[in-house]
Amino acid sequence: MSFIDAPMTPLDEVRKSPSRLRSLLSFLRKHPQAAIGFVILMLFVFIAIFGPYFAPYGEREQVGPIFGTPSSAHPLGLDDGGIDVLSLLIYGARVTLIVGFAGAVVAMLVGGSIGIISGYFGGKIDNALMRTTDYFLVLPDLVLMIVVASIWGRSLRNIIIIIGLIYWTFMARLIRAQVKVVRERAYVKRAQALGATHTRIIFRHVIPQIAPLLLAQTVLMVALAIFLETAISFLGLGDPSVASWGKMIETAFSRSAISYGAWWAIAPPGIAVALVIMAFNMVGTAAEDSLNPRLRVSHLARRHFRLRPLPDKEPPK
């Protein structure tokens, strides 16, 4: 059903290669789900960047009683230190998103390079690298993370590195498979025959081909990284000096917001995390579905603890 039925693109449309912005827009138009996710994301990114300018109160400013109920002055109430929850939420967006993006980028760099080297060179290097990846894949991630975090100490940088070091395996496997395909393409063979160096082939021919997939995977990984950030903060291993959504949940819990019945101190950060994760998943899944050829053949797709709605098969008659 895939290639043959696809409408032919008129030649003049092929010649005009669309601009980056235009292709992003057309992608969003084709995937309304991605568009919704994209809008939510942009909103949160905006809050993360400009939040401190319009946050109603300071991030450490006591503005009322402990666990003050929501009112018109404080729409989300006050937390255990009398700090405005809405302001905390706005300040926390920055840290949470930074950890998410940076962790995912570390995973992309580590996993991407290992995947590229493994897939491009093949043979013994491939074998050794993929075996290593297999071993890392089985280690329980949260437990490993706790061990590393409690040894290295509590800082944002450590959390980012840890997240990256835990999630590189997914990336490496996927990228390797894709690079193996690209490597066999005629233009790569031709470049080799012309005497191009490996570095040149990798950077000029391989990476541009796998870049979209790399990007889609990174987007999906941001969601995972944010998830881990909240978990690690909850266990008291987060950076004690900055406000993040994970830390908000943690302080609300440890300062017994539950027994006060102060839902407003717990609910908002969790909802924010869920929204962001869903948004990342919506965008990432759509991007991946349109980029990762393996997903079109559903039984080949390996879903390792991650959600990706499947491209539908023909309905049963």
Binding site: L142, V143, G236, F253, N281
Partner: protein
């Protein structure tokens, strides 16, 4: 069949090597920890001579490879050292928490499978309808919620109305009141429900999607058409033909999610103050109790590797084609 045994053998070797790597990683990670067992925090007011004596006792004066061999030897004999806090051997300290955690995880897994299979079947059968979309997005929604947060929400909104306890594993007064085995069992179960429900809720979304996709695949097969031609009811077609053949990925996925579940129990048990392995890890982190952490990490890793190996075997039993 010979190919099959070589497959099993390969998986066994893989599992063994992974265990060895986990053990070594454990050594390296904890050697990187700042300070050793004689540093200031653990040994306030110790004299230099006493510290030196301690180092010799612990074997810290030997070279790293030598220490590694000693460590390997001890670990393989099941000696993980003693807890910094209770001074008891780690392995006996970990035993009770594990016994507490296992039934809770089992209940949680059962809940998630039941939820996942039901919603997955509904979604596949009513494909592209509102029911399909609602179940799939419901699953994704629960999957996107931070585990610890969902646990807190359950306490806030379910514990009260359902009159369920939110802390600990059993009512301490029950043991003195001679309430009988049945009452104690019910009490245990009550303490288990909310933690297990959390596991079930955060996990089922993944199962929903897998069941849905493999059901869709199965429903398109010829034997379904045959079953329909034979005049079987929808229920019979789903349960006896389609679902049966689409259980394979679920079986393996359940085993493979164990790593995730164990990670999740750390969060869940610390919310519910449930004295299992997760809470033990949480407390060890707070106390900087490295031997306990080390032991727990190793134990969980070995369990997960073992489960992966079992999943491989099971997969081989259910679908001998995997060796090809």
């Amino acid at each position: 069949m010979r190919a099959g045994w070589s497959y099993v053998g390969r998986r066994a070797v893989f599992a063994l090597i992974t265990v060895l790597i986990a053990i070594s990683l454990n050594f390296v990670l904890f050697r990187l920890a700042p300070g050793d067992r004689t540093s200031a925090l653990r040994c306030q007011g110790c004299t230099q001579e006493f510290k030196q004596q301690l180092r010799i006792d612990f074997g810290l004066d030997k070279s790293v490879p030598e220490q590694y061999v000693i460590y390997l030897n001890q670990t393989l004999r099941g000696d993980f050292g003693r807890s910094f806090v209770t001074e008891q051997p780690v392995i006996s300290e970990l035993w009770q928490p594990i016994k507490n955690t296992l039934p809770m995880i089992l209940l949680g897994t059962i809940i998630s499978i039941m939820l996942g299979v039901t919603t997955g079947v509904i979604a596949a059968w009513r494909r592209n309808t509102l029911a399909d979309k609602a179940t799939v997005w419901g699953g994704i929604l629960f999957y996107s919620l931070p585990t610890q947060w969902l646990a807190l929400m359950l306490i806030l909104y379910l514990a009260g109305p359902l009159n369920l306890p939110t802390s600990d594993i059993a009512d301490p007064y029950l043991a003195y009141s001679n309430a009988g085995a049945w009452a104690e069992f019910v009490d245990r179960l009550k303490h288990m429900i909310l933690p297990a429900a959390t596991i079930g809720l955060v996990l089922f979304g993944e199962y929903t999607l897998i069941v849905r996709s493999s059901m869709l695949e199965a429903l398109g097969e010829d034997y379904i058409l045959t079953a329909r031609a034979k005049g079987l009811s929808n229920w019979e077609i789903i349960t006896q033909h389609a679902l049966r053949n689409s259980m394979l990925p679920i079986v393996t996925l359940v085993f493979l999610s164990l790593g995730f579940i164990f990670g999740g129990t750390i969060l869940i048990e610390s919310v519910f103050n449930y004295p299992g392995i997760g809470l033990q890890i949480y407390e060890s982190v707070g106390n900087r109790d490295y031997p306990m952490l080390q032991g727990a990490f190793l134990l969980l890793t070995v369990v997960i590797i073992l489960m992966n190996f079992l999943a491989d075997l099971l997969y081989f039993k259910l679908d001998p084609r995997v060796t090809e």
